[in-house]
Subunit: 409 residues, 2 copies
């Protein structure tokens, strides 16, 4: 077990129970020994569900199954395993996912399309689904409202700490809760460090509204993080609303009474997404990149991601070098409009370059001090418009090479 | 001086003189001491020129100057310095480039627009152009037909070996020569390891035909290599035709009599481009990625570059791990059409996966042996069409981190 990331929170947050959700973990020995590797998230009857998934065109079998089941808009359970991603496993992989869903539906007495599955781990190996199915009775019998931490641990692969977050929001004055767990370190990695996240709320929301809320919040959180620019075949994010709390009836995502809920959902997803970055493989620095002055918010995000994904920017930060020239390079390669002669760059709040050149009396001392810290802030204005974006990433270190150049051996 | 790359050719090729080209190098101490850092490529009167440049939107001042001068289609000289890229230097940077061109035009008695300049090195520092101009007399006086190797050395930055190539082609039965030099290691790097390449031929070709020939050959050579996916602000490739050899008059690039010339030009550019990859920062393995079965050649190239740019693929190869799962991942993230259930992957000529899954009796032994070598071949068929492409890259090693995380200190 690798040491806990130096960027991890000091302590894992304790998640309170959330009405309508019970969780359990078990040891199925899918691949790992002496640790939990399957978890069940059981949801109250009537739970609505939304989901977003990897854009990979070689998506894994569980992703295909979830996409199909999402059309129903209802969920009674999510079954997750670590150790094997059931990806690039052909028709047999799809059949294995279907067998798990069917067995669990039978155990819970619900429709198959109310079951969602996710798998993370090595790819190209057949999923030993019989080992997972053999644990369904134990999981169903053991499911309890306080199982959040156990579930977060069971879905870890190369993660060095479990990722949990909770928020409380109000819908028209009525308090509702949001709980979430996630895993991932590197977009993909030694054991396919796929990003998986499962979020639940006790609010009462229809599936189409949930889907719109989730899409918007994802664009501002998980779609704004990058570790190594690689995309897993299995990335999945599910949002469930158990409907256990009664409040004013909400018809759609645009309802004004959702303002507070929307803000807290986004904050919770940002929290989980940043925890994934803080567990980035080999990460020693947590980097926030803000871009302003772009032609649009979309353009700003592309520029910010070009900076955040640049191996040269990430290695410079690993070396604690305030190498703003590489930031200029990354802006240039993003393919979005930027005015070279209006570009400004600040690191740690110190303006280094403006109007397309280094400032005349630039003092590197405060920037050098900032670079020695674990939290690095980069702010760029590209001087053409009002589009802005914020993304998060980590540095590129020898640790990343160690982890990724030598795992199957 | 770092050790010569283990992937470098055993000996540097010796370039024969090429009619109409004389070269010289000098020590101007732009940034480096005790080595040559400026070179002059002097071209016979009547030389035609074509060029392709970085797509960066923060392109350096010399690139802007070259783009403007290219409209004239004629060249009498190329002046190159290493040590300072004259990039992100604002209006003053453009003025410095103009002063160099003006001084050289005066010295050679030609128009300013017949002078081309290129700079490579640190960015954001003012170019001490007076040091370069002070060497123009020495360069002009010393220019000689046998100066190719000296010129190739003068333009090096973090390169560990000079890059030279020569070819002989026939145009309608008449022999013509092609000589070229290049520099670059990493798309950009410690000292901005910009890619620069200068190619000359003694053939007699009009500028528009040269431009079309160059564009096509570049798409199949320099546009098919990647070291770290970063894009320099200064990448420049110039092709000059001195017109010293008389052959059948060629009106355009589509002329059938150019078939042999076209093939040799492409081969020469591929040769130089692969030398750049072989000098990739920290590179220990030279990787060829072939993609077939794509919807188009363009789609195939995008998929091949997604594989070649994937940090997870590159680190796996550094670790001599035949991790074909990461190749599947990279195909999926390319955003081009691929049939997951028809995908096949071969490494070192051994078919590992077909029809979307690992072969039943896959024997890893020959693949493991191939991974231990310095030349790695990956072949992927994505199963949807007939588009094919070939790209070249290198592995991602601790050496890359060493070089890039610690250069300005």
């Amino acid at each position: 077990m690798p040491a806990r990331s130096p960027l991890a929170p000091a302590a894992d947050p304790l998640l309170p129970p959330l009405a309508g959700v019970r969780l359990a973990a078990a040891q199925a020995a899918v691949r790992y020994r002496n640790r939990t590797d399957v978890c069940l998230i059981e949801l109250a009857a009537g739970t609505r569900v939304a989901g977003v998934f990897t854009r990979s065109l070689t998506a894994a079998a569980p992703v295909e199954l979830c996409r199909a089941h999402l059309a129903g808009g209802r969920a009674r359970a999510i079954l997750v395993n670590s150790g094997n991603a059931n990806a690039f496993t052909g028709r047999e992989g799809r059949a294995a996912a279907e067998r798990c869903a069917a067995a669990l539906a039978e155990r819970l007495g619900c429709g198959r399309r109310e079951i969602f599955v996710a798998s993370t781990g090595v790819i190209g190996e057949p999923l030993p689904d019989e080992r997972i199915r053999a644990k369904l009775d134990e999981l169903a019998a053991g499911a309890a409202p306080d199982g959040w931490a156990a579930a977060a641990r069971a879905i870890m692969t190369t993660d060095t700490f479990p990722k949990l977050a909770t928020r409380t929001a109000r819908i028209d004055g009525v308090e509702v809760r949001l709980n979430g767990i996630a895993k991932g370190s590197g977009m993909i990695a030694p054991d396919m460090a796929t990003m998986l996240a499962f979020v639940a709320t006790d609010a009462t929301l229809p599936a189409p509204a949930l889907q719109a809320l989730l899409q918007r919040a994802t664009d501002r959180s998980f779609n704004c993080i990058t570790v190594d620019s690689d995309t897993s075949t299995s990335d999945s994010l599910l949002l469930c609303a158990t409907g256990q709390v009664r409040h004013a009836r909400i018809a759609g995502a645009a309802d004004r009474r959702l303002g507070d809920f929307r803000a807290h959902l986004e904050a919770l997803l940002v929290d989980l997404a940043c925890q994934v970055v803080r567990d980035g493989e080999g990460a020693r620095k947590f980097i926030t990149v803000k871009v302003g002055g772009a032609a649009s918010a979309r353009a700003a995000r592309r520029i910010a991601l070009a900076i955040a994904n640049s191996p040269l920017v990430k290695t410079a930060i690993a070396g604690e070098d305030a190498n703003w020239g590489r930031i200029v390079m990354a802006v240039g390669k993003a393919g979005e409009r930027a005015d070279r002669d209006r570009l400004s760059i600040a690191i740690g709040g110190t303006l280094i370059a403006e109007a397309g050149r280094r400032r005349d009396h630039y003092d590197e001392a405060p920037v050098a001090a900032h670079m020695k810290g674990a939290e690095i802030d980069i702010a760029v204005d590209v001087g053409v418009g009002r589009g802005a974006a914020r993304v998060w990433t980590c540095d590129l270190t020898h640790g990343y090479i160690d982890i990724n150049a030598d795992y199957r051996s």
